[in-house]
Point group: C2
Chain length 177, copies 2
Protein backbone atom coordinates (compact mmCIF):
# COMPACT_ATOMS: atom_id res chain seq x y z
CA UNK A 1 0.00 0.00 0.00
CA UNK A 2 2.95 2.31 0.52
CA UNK A 3 3.80 1.53 -3.09
CA UNK A 4 0.42 3.04 -4.05
CA UNK A 5 1.30 6.15 -2.06
CA UNK A 6 4.70 6.32 -3.69
CA UNK A 7 3.10 6.25 -7.18
CA UNK A 8 1.70 9.74 -6.63
CA UNK A 9 2.83 12.56 -8.83
CA UNK A 10 4.82 15.31 -7.17
CA UNK A 11 5.87 18.84 -7.95
CA UNK A 12 9.08 18.72 -9.99
CA UNK A 13 9.26 14.96 -9.20
CA UNK A 14 10.32 16.00 -5.72
CA UNK A 15 8.73 12.97 -3.96
CA UNK A 16 8.54 14.87 -0.67
CA UNK A 17 7.26 12.00 1.45
CA UNK A 18 8.99 9.91 4.08
CA UNK A 19 7.18 7.14 5.97
CA UNK A 20 8.24 6.17 9.46
CA UNK A 21 6.75 2.88 10.65
CA UNK A 22 6.23 2.83 14.38
CA UNK A 23 6.81 -0.71 15.58
CA UNK A 24 8.07 0.13 19.06
CA UNK A 25 5.26 0.08 21.62
CA UNK A 26 6.88 2.58 23.95
CA UNK A 27 7.18 5.02 21.08
CA UNK A 28 3.56 4.45 20.13
CA UNK A 29 2.50 5.35 23.66
CA UNK A 30 4.59 8.53 23.56
CA UNK A 31 2.99 9.53 20.27
CA UNK A 32 -0.41 8.91 21.82
CA UNK A 33 0.52 11.21 24.70
CA UNK A 34 1.50 13.98 22.28
CA UNK A 35 -1.87 13.69 20.58
CA UNK A 36 -3.69 13.69 23.92
CA UNK A 37 -1.89 16.92 24.84
CA UNK A 38 -2.90 18.58 21.60
CA UNK A 39 -6.45 17.26 21.91
CA UNK A 40 -6.79 19.19 25.16
CA UNK A 41 -5.15 22.32 23.71
CA UNK A 42 -7.42 22.20 20.66
CA UNK A 43 -10.46 21.74 22.90
CA UNK A 44 -9.43 24.81 24.90
CA UNK A 45 -8.99 26.81 21.68
CA UNK A 46 -12.48 25.80 20.57
CA UNK A 47 -13.89 27.54 23.66
CA UNK A 48 -17.66 26.94 23.92
CA UNK A 49 -17.46 23.71 21.91
CA UNK A 50 -14.76 22.30 24.18
CA UNK A 51 -16.84 19.58 25.84
CA UNK A 52 -18.44 18.53 22.62
CA UNK A 53 -15.00 18.21 21.00
CA UNK A 54 -13.66 16.12 23.86
CA UNK A 55 -16.44 13.57 23.27
CA UNK A 56 -15.37 12.97 19.65
CA UNK A 57 -13.18 10.02 18.76
CA UNK A 58 -10.25 11.59 16.97
CA UNK A 59 -7.73 8.77 16.71
CA UNK A 60 -7.01 5.09 17.14
CA UNK A 61 -3.31 5.35 17.84
CA UNK A 62 -3.10 2.76 20.61
CA UNK A 63 -5.27 0.14 18.95
CA UNK A 64 -4.56 0.36 15.18
CA UNK A 65 -2.62 -2.45 13.51
CA UNK A 66 -0.10 -0.17 11.79
CA UNK A 67 1.01 3.27 12.87
CA UNK A 68 2.89 5.44 10.38
CA UNK A 69 4.26 8.94 10.46
CA UNK A 70 4.40 10.84 7.17
CA UNK A 71 6.92 13.64 7.04
CA UNK A 72 8.27 16.18 4.59
CA UNK A 73 12.04 15.76 4.22
CA UNK A 74 14.61 18.42 5.00
CA UNK A 75 16.38 20.47 2.31
CA UNK A 76 13.13 21.17 0.53
CA UNK A 77 14.30 24.69 -0.27
CA UNK A 78 16.49 23.19 -3.01
CA UNK A 79 13.36 22.38 -4.96
CA UNK A 80 12.25 25.50 -6.80
CA UNK A 81 10.44 23.85 -9.74
CA UNK A 82 6.73 24.59 -9.25
CA UNK A 83 7.37 26.00 -5.77
CA UNK A 84 8.87 29.45 -6.29
CA UNK A 85 5.55 31.18 -5.64
CA UNK A 86 3.71 28.24 -4.04
CA UNK A 87 6.12 26.65 -1.56
CA UNK A 88 3.26 24.66 -0.04
CA UNK A 89 3.27 22.35 -3.07
CA UNK A 90 5.47 20.00 -1.04
CA UNK A 91 2.61 19.46 1.43
CA UNK A 92 0.24 19.12 -1.52
CA UNK A 93 2.34 16.38 -3.14
CA UNK A 94 2.71 14.47 0.11
CA UNK A 95 -1.06 14.73 0.62
CA UNK A 96 -1.61 13.21 -2.84
CA UNK A 97 0.52 10.25 -1.74
CA UNK A 98 -1.50 9.95 1.48
CA UNK A 99 -4.76 10.07 -0.48
CA UNK A 100 -3.48 7.18 -2.62
CA UNK A 101 -2.74 5.28 0.60
CA UNK A 102 -6.25 6.07 1.83
CA UNK A 103 -7.90 4.73 -1.32
CA UNK A 104 -5.63 1.67 -1.43
CA UNK A 105 -6.49 0.92 2.22
CA UNK A 106 -10.21 1.21 1.56
CA UNK A 107 -9.86 -1.02 -1.51
CA UNK A 108 -8.33 -3.65 0.78
CA UNK A 109 -11.16 -3.28 3.29
CA UNK A 110 -9.00 -1.44 5.81
CA UNK A 111 -9.73 1.77 7.62
CA UNK A 112 -7.34 4.68 7.66
CA UNK A 113 -7.25 7.79 9.78
CA UNK A 114 -5.09 10.89 9.30
CA UNK A 115 -4.41 12.53 12.65
CA UNK A 116 -3.12 16.11 12.63
CA UNK A 117 -3.62 16.81 16.33
CA UNK A 118 0.01 17.06 17.41
CA UNK A 119 2.84 19.52 17.86
CA UNK A 120 5.08 18.88 14.82
CA UNK A 121 8.22 20.07 16.62
CA UNK A 122 7.67 17.72 19.55
CA UNK A 123 7.03 14.78 17.22
CA UNK A 124 10.11 15.64 15.12
CA UNK A 125 12.19 15.62 18.30
CA UNK A 126 10.76 12.28 19.42
CA UNK A 127 11.68 10.68 16.07
CA UNK A 128 15.11 12.33 15.78
CA UNK A 129 14.08 14.02 12.56
CA UNK A 130 16.59 16.39 10.95
CA UNK A 131 16.20 20.16 11.15
CA UNK A 132 14.02 21.35 8.29
CA UNK A 133 11.93 18.20 8.05
CA UNK A 134 8.32 18.34 9.25
CA UNK A 135 5.86 15.60 10.21
CA UNK A 136 2.43 16.24 8.67
CA UNK A 137 0.47 13.12 9.50
CA UNK A 138 0.06 10.36 12.03
CA UNK A 139 -1.61 7.57 10.08
CA UNK A 140 -3.65 4.88 11.80
CA UNK A 141 -4.23 1.89 9.59
CA UNK A 142 -5.97 -1.41 10.14
CA UNK A 143 -9.15 -3.41 10.29
CA UNK A 144 -12.14 -1.53 11.67
CA UNK A 145 -15.39 -2.93 13.06
CA UNK A 146 -17.38 -0.91 10.54
CA UNK A 147 -17.11 2.04 8.20
CA UNK A 148 -19.16 5.13 8.89
CA UNK A 149 -22.00 5.47 6.35
CA UNK A 150 -21.49 9.25 6.41
CA UNK A 151 -18.65 11.47 7.66
CA UNK A 152 -18.29 10.86 11.39
CA UNK A 153 -18.26 14.57 12.18
CA UNK A 154 -21.63 14.87 10.48
CA UNK A 155 -23.09 11.84 12.26
CA UNK A 156 -21.94 13.30 15.58
CA UNK A 157 -23.58 16.62 14.66
CA UNK A 158 -20.26 18.44 14.81
CA UNK A 159 -20.81 20.05 11.41
CA UNK A 160 -22.59 19.48 8.12
CA UNK A 161 -21.03 18.90 4.74
CA UNK A 162 -21.86 21.20 1.86
CA UNK A 163 -22.91 19.99 -1.59
CA UNK A 164 -20.56 20.14 -4.55
CA UNK A 165 -22.75 22.75 -6.21
CA UNK A 166 -21.67 25.22 -3.50
CA UNK A 167 -18.05 24.67 -4.49
CA UNK A 168 -18.16 25.20 -8.25
CA UNK A 169 -17.98 28.65 -9.83
CA UNK A 170 -17.45 29.81 -13.42
CA UNK A 171 -14.85 32.34 -14.60
CA UNK A 172 -14.57 33.96 -11.18
CA UNK A 173 -15.60 33.80 -7.57
CA UNK A 174 -19.31 33.77 -6.78
CA UNK A 175 -19.69 32.52 -3.26
CA UNK A 176 -22.95 33.57 -1.64
CA UNK A 177 -22.37 31.75 1.62
CA UNK B 1 -15.32 13.85 -11.85
CA UNK B 2 -15.60 16.86 -9.59
CA UNK B 3 -17.92 14.68 -7.52
CA UNK B 4 -14.98 12.29 -7.04
CA UNK B 5 -12.87 15.21 -5.85
CA UNK B 6 -15.61 16.37 -3.53
CA UNK B 7 -15.77 12.90 -1.89
CA UNK B 8 -12.35 13.46 -0.32
CA UNK B 9 -12.02 13.55 3.42
CA UNK B 10 -10.99 16.86 4.91
CA UNK B 11 -9.65 18.14 8.20
CA UNK B 12 -12.58 18.79 10.53
CA UNK B 13 -14.91 18.27 7.51
CA UNK B 14 -13.74 21.68 6.34
CA UNK B 15 -14.05 20.89 2.60
CA UNK B 16 -11.54 23.63 1.75
CA UNK B 17 -11.85 23.35 -2.03
CA UNK B 18 -13.47 25.63 -4.56
CA UNK B 19 -13.42 24.88 -8.29
CA UNK B 20 -13.57 27.68 -10.83
CA UNK B 21 -14.30 26.48 -14.37
CA UNK B 22 -12.71 28.69 -16.97
CA UNK B 23 -15.01 28.79 -19.98
CA UNK B 24 -14.10 32.28 -21.20
CA UNK B 25 -11.37 32.17 -23.82
CA UNK B 26 -10.02 35.62 -23.05
CA UNK B 27 -9.62 34.61 -19.42
CA UNK B 28 -7.88 31.41 -20.45
CA UNK B 29 -5.36 33.44 -22.46
CA UNK B 30 -4.72 35.73 -19.48
CA UNK B 31 -4.12 32.72 -17.24
CA UNK B 32 -1.71 31.36 -19.82
CA UNK B 33 0.16 34.67 -19.78
CA UNK B 34 0.47 34.52 -15.98
CA UNK B 35 1.98 31.06 -16.25
CA UNK B 36 4.36 32.15 -19.01
CA UNK B 37 5.57 34.98 -16.77
CA UNK B 38 6.22 32.61 -13.89
CA UNK B 39 7.85 30.09 -16.22
CA UNK B 40 10.47 32.71 -17.09
CA UNK B 41 10.90 33.76 -13.45
CA UNK B 42 11.32 30.15 -12.35
CA UNK B 43 13.83 29.55 -15.15
CA UNK B 44 15.84 32.55 -13.97
CA UNK B 45 15.74 31.26 -10.38
CA UNK B 46 17.06 27.89 -11.56
CA UNK B 47 20.21 29.63 -12.82
CA UNK B 48 22.42 27.16 -14.70
CA UNK B 49 19.49 24.88 -15.58
CA UNK B 50 17.53 27.79 -17.07
CA UNK B 51 17.73 26.71 -20.74
CA UNK B 52 16.99 23.11 -19.91
CA UNK B 53 13.92 24.15 -17.91
CA UNK B 54 12.63 26.34 -20.73
CA UNK B 55 12.62 23.34 -23.06
CA UNK B 56 10.28 21.34 -20.78
CA UNK B 57 6.57 21.25 -21.49
CA UNK B 58 5.01 22.42 -18.25
CA UNK B 59 1.38 23.01 -19.17
CA UNK B 60 -1.37 22.62 -21.73
CA UNK B 61 -3.45 25.61 -20.72
CA UNK B 62 -4.34 26.84 -24.20
CA UNK B 63 -5.17 23.45 -25.69
CA UNK B 64 -6.78 21.41 -22.89
CA UNK B 65 -10.51 20.64 -23.07
CA UNK B 66 -11.30 21.83 -19.54
CA UNK B 67 -9.44 24.38 -17.49
CA UNK B 68 -10.12 24.57 -13.75
CA UNK B 69 -8.72 26.61 -10.93
CA UNK B 70 -8.71 25.05 -7.47
CA UNK B 71 -8.63 27.49 -4.59
CA UNK B 72 -8.71 27.49 -0.83
CA UNK B 73 -11.65 29.57 0.42
CA UNK B 74 -11.37 32.63 2.62
CA UNK B 75 -12.14 32.58 6.37
CA UNK B 76 -10.10 29.44 6.87
CA UNK B 77 -8.85 30.76 10.20
CA UNK B 78 -12.26 29.85 11.67
CA UNK B 79 -11.35 26.18 11.30
CA UNK B 80 -9.18 25.18 14.25
CA UNK B 81 -10.06 21.47 14.35
CA UNK B 82 -6.91 19.59 13.29
CA UNK B 83 -5.22 22.83 12.25
CA UNK B 84 -4.14 24.55 15.46
CA UNK B 85 -0.55 23.36 15.11
CA UNK B 86 -0.69 22.34 11.44
CA UNK B 87 -2.50 25.12 9.58
CA UNK B 88 -1.36 23.67 6.25
CA UNK B 89 -3.92 20.87 6.61
CA UNK B 90 -6.25 22.98 4.44
CA UNK B 91 -3.83 22.63 1.51
CA UNK B 92 -3.46 18.95 2.36
CA UNK B 93 -7.23 18.35 2.24
CA UNK B 94 -7.61 20.24 -1.05
CA UNK B 95 -4.73 18.19 -2.48
CA UNK B 96 -6.55 14.98 -1.49
CA UNK B 97 -9.53 16.21 -3.51
CA UNK B 98 -7.27 16.99 -6.48
CA UNK B 99 -5.67 13.56 -6.26
CA UNK B 100 -9.16 12.02 -6.43
CA UNK B 101 -9.80 14.12 -9.55
CA UNK B 102 -6.50 12.90 -11.00
CA UNK B 103 -7.35 9.24 -10.45
CA UNK B 104 -10.91 9.71 -11.73
CA UNK B 105 -9.56 11.39 -14.87
CA UNK B 106 -7.11 8.61 -15.53
CA UNK B 107 -9.85 6.03 -14.97
CA UNK B 108 -11.82 7.78 -17.73
CA UNK B 109 -8.80 7.77 -20.04
CA UNK B 110 -8.19 11.50 -19.65
CA UNK B 111 -4.97 13.28 -18.86
CA UNK B 112 -4.67 15.77 -16.04
CA UNK B 113 -1.98 18.27 -15.24
CA UNK B 114 -1.55 20.31 -12.04
CA UNK B 115 0.21 23.57 -12.83
CA UNK B 116 1.69 25.52 -9.92
CA UNK B 117 3.76 27.97 -11.97
CA UNK B 118 1.84 31.15 -11.26
CA UNK B 119 1.69 34.09 -8.89
CA UNK B 120 -1.27 33.27 -6.60
CA UNK B 121 -1.99 36.94 -5.86
CA UNK B 122 -2.15 37.86 -9.54
CA UNK B 123 -4.45 34.93 -10.29
CA UNK B 124 -6.68 35.76 -7.32
CA UNK B 125 -7.00 39.30 -8.64
CA UNK B 126 -7.86 38.10 -12.15
CA UNK B 127 -10.66 35.88 -10.78
CA UNK B 128 -11.98 38.45 -8.28
CA UNK B 129 -11.29 36.09 -5.42
CA UNK B 130 -11.98 37.37 -1.90
CA UNK B 131 -9.19 38.44 0.43
CA UNK B 132 -7.92 35.42 2.33
CA UNK B 133 -8.66 32.89 -0.39
CA UNK B 134 -5.73 31.39 -2.30
CA UNK B 135 -5.53 29.58 -5.65
CA UNK B 136 -3.33 26.49 -5.39
CA UNK B 137 -3.77 24.79 -8.76
CA UNK B 138 -4.43 25.40 -12.40
CA UNK B 139 -5.80 22.09 -13.63
CA UNK B 140 -5.60 21.11 -17.30
CA UNK B 141 -7.93 18.25 -18.14
CA UNK B 142 -8.74 16.45 -21.36
CA UNK B 143 -7.83 13.85 -23.93
CA UNK B 144 -4.12 13.43 -24.52
CA UNK B 145 -2.38 11.82 -27.49
CA UNK B 146 -0.58 9.41 -25.18
CA UNK B 147 0.36 8.89 -21.56
CA UNK B 148 4.01 8.98 -20.58
CA UNK B 149 5.26 5.50 -19.69
CA UNK B 150 7.43 7.06 -16.97
CA UNK B 151 7.40 10.47 -15.26
CA UNK B 152 8.02 13.09 -17.95
CA UNK B 153 10.70 14.81 -15.90
CA UNK B 154 12.59 11.54 -15.75
CA UNK B 155 12.19 10.86 -19.48
CA UNK B 156 13.52 14.34 -20.21
CA UNK B 157 16.48 13.68 -17.90
CA UNK B 158 15.49 16.52 -15.60
CA UNK B 159 15.74 14.33 -12.51
CA UNK B 160 15.44 10.72 -11.41
CA UNK B 161 12.86 9.26 -9.10
CA UNK B 162 13.93 7.46 -5.97
CA UNK B 163 12.66 4.01 -4.96
CA UNK B 164 10.15 3.56 -2.15
CA UNK B 165 12.79 1.80 -0.05
CA UNK B 166 14.60 5.14 0.30
CA UNK B 167 11.45 6.67 1.80
CA UNK B 168 10.59 4.17 4.54
CA UNK B 169 12.19 4.28 7.98
CA UNK B 170 11.38 2.52 11.25
CA UNK B 171 10.87 4.20 14.64
CA UNK B 172 12.92 7.25 13.67
CA UNK B 173 14.74 9.00 10.88
CA UNK B 174 17.50 7.09 9.09
CA UNK B 175 18.12 8.89 5.83
CA UNK B 176 21.56 8.18 4.41
CA UNK B 177 21.09 10.25 1.27
Amino acid sequence: MLQAAHQAGSVGLMQPWRFIRITDHGLRRKIHQLVEQERHLTAAALQQRQDEFMRLKVEGILECAELLIVALPDQREQHIFGRRTLPEMDVASAACAIQNLWLASRAEGLGMGWVSLFDPDALALLLAMPKGSRPIAIICLGHVAEFYPRPMLEMENWTTSRPLSDMVFENGWSDDS
